[in-house]
Symmetry: C3
Subunit: 324 residues, 3 copies
């Protein structure tokens, strides 16, 4: 693996999932693979699970980790070409990235969208500039449009559930529903885009996306899925329900303010096949999902969060192998 910024960097999704599950069974089985290698984690935005799980994964491969919170510890970067830098950006990515690349063997980067201008966000200029200039493999810790480490952890979680219930799925594919949820803030589309991209690429599920009209995701990620604006109809027969808010892609960044009835509740789940519930966290309780759903045995949310470690470890190891 040369980089990890989308599903396209995973040549074989199932193999990557299996590698992750091997690490889950034996976290330290490759503890010397990364010895003398260093991971740099650059956060342009806050992070909890991604920050910690990536560090844990790297340590378990024997790597050193250095973390930089760009805003708090450093200064504001410039990403435009040819700019006269007489404003508030202090350093150009052209100058900063290659230096970081000299200090570390793998560079991991988190960069949120601004949710103001769609073209800018979807150009993914920031991570592409780092890829262009860093000179070392780059891992996305979530960018404007995608969150591949989350999606890999999601697929690990789904795979574990399918394996534990193999009988139920002998003659049919599982039905996975991505269900839009209400939220009070303008939230990126990246987790939903990325989950859609991975499930579509995986090709081992019946995949339905449900959301209010006007909250369609970009077709580049959803093509292949069934789109259904009737939530209840979408949930019928579901085996997995992935709950997630996103702001509008069409009317870019818009919050849907009259959609509180889209909150997932136990009552709505009656039409599913005792569906397992997924969410990437952080979750707004009793806004996106009810306490009752989140605290039920059907919730895979904690398992997803735990699987972030094994996803990161599998990706780091694949990159270490690729560059070895």
């Amino acid at each position: 693996m040369k980089q990890f910024i989308s599903v396209n960097d995973a040549s074989n999704i199932d193999q990557l999932v299996q590698l992750a599950l091997r690490y889950k069974a034996d976290p330290l089985c490759d503890r010397n693979k990364g010895q003398g290698k260093r991971l740099g984690c650059l956060f342009l935005n806050p992070s909890l699970r991604t920050r910690l799980s990536t560090q844990v994964a790297a340590q378990q491969l024997g790597m050193e980790v250095i973390v930089l919170n760009a805003a708090a510890d450093g200064w504001k970067l410039e990403f435009g070409e040819g700019v006269i830098m007489n404003g508030d950006t202090v350093e150009h990515v052209k100058d900063a990235a290659p230096i970081l690349g000299q200090y570390v063997d793998i560079l991991a980067l988190r960069s949120f969208p601004e949710l103001k201008d769609r073209e800018t966000d979807y150009a993914e200029h920031i991570i592409h500039q780092f890829i262009r200039y860093a000179g070392v493999p780059v891992i996305s810790l979530e960018t404007a449009t995608l969150h591949p480490l989350q999606s890999l952890a999601d697929l690990i979680t789904i795979s574990e559930t399918l394996q534990a219930n193999a009988k139920h799925y002998q003659n049919r594919k599982p039905k996975i529903v991505l269900s839009w949820a209400p939220h009070i803030r303008s939230i990126p589309q990246c987790v939903a885009n990325s989950f859609s991209q991975w499930i579509n690429a995986w090709q081992q599920a019946e995949f339905v996306i449900t959301h209010p009209a006007g909250w369609e995701l970009h077709e580049a990620y959803t093509a292949g899925a069934t789109i259904e604006t009737d939530q209840q109809k979408a949930l019928e027969g579901a085996d997995f329900v992935y709950v997630k808010n996103w702001s509008s892609y069409r009317s870019y960044g818009e919050i849907h303010k009259e959609a509180s009835d889209w909150m997932l509740t136990t009552r709505k789940l009656a039409v599913t096949r005792q569906a397992k519930i997924m969410h990437c966290l952080p979750v707004r309780r009793n806004v996106e999902l009810s306490d009752e759903v989140l605290d039920s045995p059907a919730s895979l949310v904690q398992q997803q969060g735990g699987n972030r470690v094994w996803a990161a470890q599998a990706v780091l190891q694949s990159i270490l192998n690729g560059t070895a």
Copy 2:
């Protein structure tokens, strides 16, 4: 040891002190005990000594450490049950804590009181929610009402002094005075509560607490000590004077604005038995204590700060043993 949030978690105070002194004599004697184990330090508030000494202690046991500054690196947590999360809290402790618990073997947490509502602060809801949901042993790095790692370091310091002057204490217990000091800000009661709790539990001293009327601490911590509002009378014959400000427990959070004469000075110490001076730091020089006292050979303040490492190391090791 299953957790470390108060003196009640220490089954044998003297043994814990002796373990700490063993580490002080030979810091790396257990350097492989924590191999493959990970300590997570979660700071909801700033920290200097606690942050560094705990990391040093963990490293000396061979543990990996990951640090999260919740406010700067992450986001605001919700601690209430059943809340509709449509406000400024981004993630519920119910969701965050178990994930952290999957990433680390021991979770250490700092959380200050708000000093607005006494019931809220004294309920210690935050650390209790973490204990409830994290699924791994929890260590207090100072909470709203207690600071046990500080108190253990204080007792290590007192024990060292007693051992070095064993002759003086053959026929009598040392007299320890906790002396309230002036301050310009509203300061938690936790260090004073905790010191009182530990000295009372230790039962090897004559213990006097002196403060202006109205600045009484909660009896849960002070019961067993003599309360004396005449500072000079309290200091008579003291072997140790622990100087510390705290805001009012009764008139919760109130600053005493006309108490500058409570500042400890060399002159006041004349009635002591050449008392040793203690303070947990940070200290407001020439407000709480005079430069003259702090810079005198009688000051144990630097020794206390150094002993923070050995206190943390003894606690981490006791927990590693308990969970092994």
Copy 3:
């Protein structure tokens, strides 16, 4: 080496450069030298390259590193003697520094000038107070007036270039020009002071400093260099051009607002001997230097940034040896 705060702490500059180049050739050749030793990095101000390169260097010597961002993670320190601390400073360096010194084996410190009062900044009170009270060797990670790790990395870069082009320099010294550049903010003099101090102490170059009249540096650092206010004349025959802005030393902290013609461009370089271009970074593109110059093969800027690791590693090792 007992400390590293200026060129005066380097008893033999060339030996230090050679040690750094040995680490560049074989980063892990001393990987056990620092085992069981701990470096503490205290940042009173932001840092990117220095922060990361110093951590990398320490890790490559087998040292543990702990990092404290004083402002964000901790609180404001007091540096004045005898102060009544009833203001916004929470802890005195007299109390904090010796504790830090108990936690680490080497203390590294970054502290910017305020650029308000020259006497205060040039007294270098902050690092001197740390040296006075820490009780362990102190390394400057850039202070108000000097940035010795940068200057050492600069000399490593110059030495590499000279070695690679040894024939050109058989009969003459290289000509090095420090060329003032425009900037929109008030920037410390420290990099320019420090570079001047090191090149003068090194004594193996013809050294010219060029800047607008009124932007003279302190003679303590420049004595020995030729000062030339005609930039074009200064550049004639240059082998190396070090570009850097600094605010006025005379009219302390003043920005030169009508000096955009001091920006270094390809056209200006025609009079040089195909000069190599240096800058410490961060650089304001198309303000200090043109894109064309920075992106040309003549630029050593990336090499300088990479060499920061080997500079730090050589200094850490020299201090470890000195204290062993």
